[in-house]
Symmetry: C2
Subunit: 195 residues, 2 copies
Amino acid sequence: MPKQIDHEKRRKQIAEATWRVILDKGLIGASVRNIAEEAGVSLGALRHYFTTQDELLVYAMRLVKEQATVRIKKIAMSDLPLKEKVLQILLEMVPTNKETMAEMEVWFAFTFHARHKQELFGEMKSEIYKAVKNLITSMDAVGLLKKNLDLEVEYESLYALVDGLAIHAMLEKDRLQEDQIKKVLMRHLDSICET
Amino acid sequence: MPKQIDHEKRRKQIAEATWRVILDKGLIGASVRNIAEEAGVSLGALRHYFTTQDELLVYAMRLVKEQATVRIKKIAMSDLPLKEKVLQILLEMVPTNKETMAEMEVWFAFTFHARHKQELFGEMKSEIYKAVKNLITSMDAVGLLKKNLDLEVEYESLYALVDGLAIHAMLEKDRLQEDQIKKVLMRHLDSICET
């Protein structure tokens, strides 16, 4: 019988090697050659799965998105009160542990890489904006928010806060840690929710 | 008489060429060769001023910082009421025109490049954090802020908001424009100031 290869598994293995290389060497070091070496596959084998570096990056990014989506759905379906649920979901968007930190590094590396390549970037661009907008809309729908808020301004505010925290959690982790991130998000939610 | 060269002017000219190359091609394209070509100087001349690409990037970053500092000092010394002054200074930290947009691109490109090189990054790291902290402290000193704020949380909140807005102003400018940025910042200041 011919040797069976689990192609999806192999693709994941290569994508994960891509993450490790980006984390270690930055995007500049994420050459196809370095990634093949890290994944322990030949350059030829890697090219069988991903023809270009861009394809590889897009795949690695989709994995990030899928993993985050799974975690967020789990929270969304829990029995927590809505405000607490929103807080927990927002915390999934800010890196606070090794796993989410790695995801965020890939996300940002990708974002900056891809900004000169609109066709790659378009798909991912405002995922977090949409997510934040949904959270605010759902709080508004059940009357949790203060009256007279300008919702468009609230979307931008929370979105900027989340992405700003994410960057600082990643780049300035000596100062900004999980308990402080939680306080900042709580403070924001308190400022828009009815007491 | 030997030909006089204004060395400082030449360094600036090269730094500005560096910006243009980063804006055009991303940091990956900011090779010493590309920069020399853009600046219209020989590779040898460029190396006379900047031995390594890192030296060049640090210089370009310092220029960004100096230019922003000049603009901010001008606002700080104006006759505006303090809250309005703070708003105008915060607006200087978020790119809203072509000049500040270019500065912010260089800043972020540098930040991501330099994060793997602590010796370059240390100096620039929390300039904006310090600036934001100063703004809040000076509002607090004259009793402009609400009582019972947790100031550490307020520093992080405003800092995250400013950097988040800066990224979005740069990467998602179709949606986020100056009037909306101003509303978001005003809304934030209103939420921490006594009415």
